[in-house]
Symmetry: D2
Subunit: 146 residues, 4 copies
């Protein structure tokens, strides 16, 4: 699915992140897609479609909070993974829901705020398909690839 | 699925919580089951099986962190819902992962710590099928049924 | 201490925020100073000097984490206060320490991410006197002036 | 200040925790006192008096949220310190304020929930002098003495 990336051989970039995502049954089940990975900026962008089984309510086109939290956890993980060269275990995270998350898909923009020897910290902003900020996350990961 | 509850007619208890769960495509998709609801103690217990699509990795019998966070959010919500008589919007929550969550199913024990006029706060402990504590959550909800 | 502000009479701005700070024995004891308040951007900036009683250790010029958390709580509160026209109760907050906070003073930049009818959410970045990001906070407040 | 402890020579217990507290100008300034340390249970109890400079408001006998957060951070740190044998750096923490914290002093009861190789996690309940739960904290520390 990921187009050939401009990263040199053996580099850890968009294609490697998408491969991590596709290797996880749950992430694949949510059809999360890595759409940008900028190692210099520490930013990863991911998209998730409003699949029927991700809805809060059968009658309303809104995401349940669980998949939103899952997208935040994953996108933040990948922002730290990009810095350390591999997937990392989540230590903890916080999610704040600001508005209902409606529309056709969600876009998560994850930014590594700090990656040290022990832990990495990422912020994640989630936008709906109209560009409205609907949720924000902050997560701490082990900085050891695991 | 829910057995007849000892609650009087019109009360909000285990059966009503399970009905809330079943009305949500995502929660139903995770097969979360309410197995206890004690309004006097402010405690709700929920169980979630290790379905194939909830796995972190196809080759290991472990839950992905996303469904664990979703279980925490839902169980905490229901502990507050039990106090206010209906489902409530999540304002924010924090999840700490303590150990890999493996085994056949997870058990979440949610306790309302405080339900005021504006918000309710719940703690959630998650145990694997061997009774080991694998994750803990703390969540704040609007105290207005919505 | 606050210079005359360009806000019209009765408006809630920098001078009113500083008055709130000065009315609180603890905040005054930390000598927190409001140095900018931009209602349109939802941003408040505050400064706190490294007083002897705010140190982590007598032999090192570093802030203890407690005053850093206090600065984050206060600056975030004021960013929401600016939007709603008065001080607001803190519901909860999270602090992540990224580096030791050393130097002569700290600068907190608080941004309101969302102020709704029930709650307001603010992000706070804390910088040392060299401009290094040392800590980040995220806080939820009641949106009712209290 | 700490009475002779029943711990054997060289053990890390109540007296060593109080010495850590007294070595920090900020903690000493808040007059935090370690009143119990049970290594087997992973529990540390600390007390903080309502000093004039810790008040939220000059006219009301209530603690400001900053000192409450500081007490939580410190008590949680000491619960992990008890397990690893020395003070540890805070990675992050969350505080939820449940009620105004009034009265003559606060009591913090910190419990280590999990101490692994990389991080330790502690829960802290804060009670006023009437035994009412007024705030709760959850914190993550490095498990390396630093």
């Amino acid at each position: 699915m990921a187009a050939p990336t401009p990263t040199p051989p053996n580099a850890f970039g968009l294609a490697q992140l998408q491969a991590l995502a596709d290797a996880s049954p749950f992430i694949r089940h949510c059809q999360m897609e890595v759409i940008a990975a900028d190692a210099a900026a520490g930013v990863v962008k991911m998209r998730m479609p409003l699949l029927p089984h991700l809805r809060r309510d059968a009658s309303v086109a809104q995401f349940h909070g669980g998949p939103i939290a899952s997208l935040i956890d994953t996108a933040g993980d990948f922002a730290v993974a990009l810095a350390v060269g591999g997937g990392v275990p989540t230590i903890n995270f916080r999610v704040d829901y600001l508005r209902p998350s409606s529309g056709d898909h969600l876009l998560a923009v994850a930014t590594a705020r700090r990656v040290g020897r022990t832990v990495g910290v990422a912020d994640v902003d989630v936008f709906d398909d109209q560009g409205r900020l609907t949720a924000i996350g902050r997560a701490t990961y082990s900085a050891q690839v695991g």
